[in-house]
């Protein structure tokens, strides 16, 4: 968002173009980003403080445990199985993350492939577009009973669920990204002597990458919603399973630990994608 503003401004002050110093702009942008990061950290600290105050006022660990209690539970169960015959927290997190990464990778790859095909071949677009449009508004969670019926209660239904959630988002994101590459950019490359194939890989696909990665970020966020729901219905492992079990036994602080773990993992995976986006689009650096 910020980089967009910076870009707009640099385009408007043409008469001062001799004074334009892009390295200074970069330094300023880095400073601004550091400041924003500090603000974000402060925001999180504020939320934790409000939580702590509310917990102290309510004074009921089952309703709302304090921050300290939650943190100590976190460190206790990170390596200790809960329920006793099950996995420790870190393993639950790992299991959920693995399910997401498998479904997400396959879904992204398939989505990019289908989206590209729709972009390149008109009949495919007209054929597939209504299918995507009809299935897109369906919540993936509606498929859970179906997938259990079809794929049992192993890993398969969870991975398929993630896949089903990711696919339409990636198809649409890929198609939109490829469609929005201006035709003139392609022509420009061709007049510079690039072959059709070189233009396809180095210009059209390359120019679409930021849009595709943005689609991946949206799809990733949805994946966590799906996986936790699936693990609450048919699973004996994963963060969703842990949260459900802890909730059933009124271990509220452990529920919070599960929720916070999801938050951290979600943030981590999104950070990876944002890194990818920054590589792909210098305007976001």
């Amino acid at each position: 968002m910020l980089s967009v503003l910076v870009e707009d401004r640099s385009g408007d002050i043409d008469d001062a173009e001799d004074q334009l110093d892009f390295t200074a702009e970069r330094r300023a942008r880095r400073r601004r980003r550091a400041r924003h990061l500090a603000m974000s950290a402060a925001g999180l600290a504020l939320a934790a403080a409000l939580w702590e105050i509310a917990a102290l006022i309510i004074n009921d660990a089952t309703f709302l445990p304090t921050v300290q209690a939650t943190v100590s539970t976190f460190f206790q169960y990170i390596g200790q199985p809960y329920p006793t015959e099950s996995d420790p927290l870190w393993q639950d997190v790992l299991v959920s993350t693995e399910r997401i990464l498998i479904g997400f990778s396959i879904g992204s790859a398939a989505g990019v492939a289908i989206g590209s095909l729709m972009h390149a071949v008109r009949p495919v677009r007209y054929l597939v577009d209504p299918i995507i449009e009809v299935t897109r508004p369906l919540p993936p969670l509606a498929f859970i009973p179906l997938f259990i019926e079809w794929f049992g209660i192993g890993e398969m239904p969870k991975v398929v669920l993630i896949f089903v959630g990711v696919l339409p988002i990636m198809v649409i994101a890929t198609l939109a990204a490829l469609d929005s590459v201006p035709m003139e950019l392609e022509l420009c490359a061709r007049t510079l002597g690039a072959s059709r194939r070189y233009t396809l890989s180095h210009v059209q696909v390359r120019a679409a990458i930021p849009g595709i990665v943005t689609g991946m970020r949206i799809a990733m966020a949805g994946s966590w919603t799906s996986i936790v729901a699936a693990e609450m219905i048919a699973a004996t492992s994963g963060v969703g399973y842990l949260i459900l079990q802890a909730g059933n036994y009124l271990r509220t602080s452990l529920v919070f630990c599960g929720i916070i773990s999801i938050g951290i993992m979600g943030l981590l995976l999104d950070a990876c994608l944002r890194l990818l986006l920054r590589w792909a689009d210098p305007a976001r650096r």
Binding site: R26, L187, T191, L192, G193, A194, T199, P282, A283
Partner: protein, 302 residues
């Protein structure tokens, strides 16, 4: 219709008429349509065949089963080192003609020959500059400039030599110090300069410019005009410049080719009797104003 109409049917006494030149070039003929306008012959570099030759080209667009004639019997010759402006109202087919010369648009009839070879597709010998600079946003200025040589896997120069060549060209267009900047870090005018550099590194025989400064504010635009005049003065490139701005056409071009409406063709060619080097102050000279009046008369008089 004769292949090259040099005389506008505007005001003023009819001149000697286009008796001589034929399709081989604009030639020195041309009446003085305004009293006091001395008609200077176009530059006579490269005797013989013109560098760019468009003969009897027609273009039909087909949309929803309807055929729309965009161009009919277009003739244009551009000599080496000549700066020609294609002038006409919006949608008259100037850009279509330019795209045909660039090889990014097929054409029906006629012949388009550049540097002795018929045009069959796009190529680095015809550098193209669009209204928007069309830089690759993920590449620095230097990598943008090096796009052409890299795309063609040019191997006659080492990487270091190529890089050095790019830096020289970047300096030529006035972007020294911005080789490592990304397009979003450049101002509008600078982006156009970068696009220039990117086309120039291919050493194109002809530079095709499609209303390149149309989207710039007037201040930046005048700066880009000065820049272009300077660059042309130093390197004597062959340029075909599409515009709908009379001032721009007369200020920049050796010759202004006026294109008429549907189906469009080149209806008149006016030699610009301004000397070189040209500057922005030339806009106020009587010669400029007289030429402008002539061009306007041709443009509106039909």
């Amino acid at each position: 219709m004769q292949s090259l109409v040099t005389a506008p049917s505007g005001p003023g006494p009819s001149g000697p008429g286009p008796s001589g030149p034929g399709p081989s070039g604009p030639g020195p003929s041309g009446p003085g349509p305004e009293a006091g306008v001395e008609v200077r012959p176009g530059p006579e570099l490269g005797p013989g065949a013109p560098l760019v030759s468009v003969q009897g080209v027609a273009k039909v667009f087909r949309r929803h089963g309807r055929a729309i004639k965009a161009l009919a019997d277009v003739n244009l010759s551009v000599n080496e080192g000549e700066f020609v402006c294609l002038l006409g109202p919006s949608g008259c087919g100037k850009s279509t003609l330019l795209n045909i010369i660039a090889g990014i648009l097929p054409y029906e009839d006629g012949r388009v020959v550049v540097n002795g070879a018929p045009v069959r597709g796009p190529g680095p010998d015809r550098g193209m500059l669009f209204q928007s600079p069309m830089l690759f946003s993920w590449l620095t200025t230097r990598d943008n400039v090096l796009f052409g040589p890299r795309a063609r896997h040019q191997r006659d120069l080492s990487r270091a030599q190529l890089r050095q060549q790019a830096d020289v060209i970047i300096e030529t267009v006035g972007l020294a110090g911005f080789a490592d900047a990304y397009p979003h870090e450049l101002s509008g005018g600078m982006r156009h300069r970068a696009a220039f550099a990117r086309a120039l590194i291919n050493h194109p025989a002809v530079l095709l410019m499609d209303e390149p400064f149309g989207a710039l504010d007037s201040l930046t635009r005048s700066r880009m005009h000065e820049f272009l005049l300077e660059l042309w003065g130093a390197h004597r490139m062959t340029i075909i410049f599409v515009t709908h701005d009379i001032d721009e056409a007369v200020l920049l071009g050796d010759r202004v080719c006026v294109m008429g409406n549907r189906p469009a063709s080149v209806v008149a060619e006016i030699d610009v009797p301004l000397g070189r080097p040209r500057h922005y102050e030339d806009l106020e000279t009587e010669t400029f104003l007289a030429t402008k009046r002539t061009v306007r008369a041709v443009l509106h008089g039909r």
